[in-house]
Chain length 194, copies 2
């Protein structure tokens, strides 16, 4: 069983990769980029550090521009980031098989929604897996701290390959105050196995 | 990490047990009974066949009576079975630690709901895990068919220890036509590892 997993190098997508591997899947990690500012090297390093195959998928600057316009209009990032995540899942799904991401049960708004999941599965004939959906915050922290070495940094100084990094770069270049749009938070990045 | 998992001997709770074991948990399987008609031997056999510790937890006939009254009043089983499942999770939660069940993403109404999960976690200080929640029907079937030998039977002749079995026995004895209340369906029972 092969599965392609959207991968940022952070704790959640790394744990999803580790879980799928333990359950017998052959896991390929895929990092989405938009060809504007390249943060994918961080994800590649993390993937290598935990022993997985990795590739980059370029979704194009036009998609990034549309998502950033929505974010600038909204004044908050959620819907624009969701647009990028859905587009990334659909791009993964085009190759068929099984696709996965690191979505958690306790994400403020777990996305994709069940309706969006079923729509992707039906339109593309794929199986979508979100191995972390059945686990709460505490269980995920227990597992992560046993399995990985992790570095944390404020998001403005993060070395992860989360969509947020390229969105921040784009909006900053367009003159927006990104620290007003993104609430301050800490990004994690996996640096190896324990 | 220890976890107590509600276990019927069916495919879903068996797959949940196997997954948690693969992820490094020490899994104890727990079958709920209500002291009315004992089907727990089937679950014990399945647990032994796949190599897990197993115990029976008696929740009392009074709970069964209340659930059966609701089911008879409703004319359909969903809310009564949900009452039994929540009571079983709460009884498991009383010992603290981590608790789990075989709830799936694609169950018609995945229960417990997120609100019920969070309520149990907060009131009892436990972590609830539903390892199958992140997997769709197709992925679960792929995994199950690789891992287990399974026997199927119509629910009226099933040899599983699902709550439905004791509910059926109770309602039948009270003179209800259980085949009107329960839509015809097939129950699975795991008989071993492949």
């Amino acid at each position: 069983m092969r599965v392609s997993l959207l991968y940022s190098g952070g704790k959640d997508s790394s744990l999803a990769a580790w879980m799928l591997h333990r359950l017998g899947y052959r896991v390929e990690l895929v990092t989405a980029s938009f060809g504007y500012a390249d943060f994918t090297g961080y994800a590649r390093e993390s993937a290598r550090a935990i022993g997985f195959e990795h590739r980059v998928m370029n979704l194009g600057t036009e998609l990034l521009r549309r998502a950033c316009e929505r974010i600038a209009r909204d004044g908050f990032p959620r819907r624009g980031l969701e647009m990028l995540h859905l587009a990334a899942l659909e791009a993964l799904a085009e190759k068929g098989g099984a696709i996965a991401d690191g979505t958690r049960r306790d994400d403020r708004v777990p996305l994709p929604s069940l309706d969006e999941i079923r729509s992707i599965e039906e339109r593309y004939g794929v199986a979508y897996i979100a191995p972390l959906r059945g686990f709460g915050k505490r269980s995920i922290e227990d597992l992560t701290s046993r399995i990985f070495r992790v570095e944390h940094a404020p998001s403005e100084a993060s070395r992860s390959a989360d969509y947020e990094m390229e969105v921040r770069a784009y909006l900053r270049d367009k003159g927006y105050d990104v620290n007003k749009i993104f609430p301050p938070h800490v990004q994690s990045r996996v640096t190896g196995l324990r």
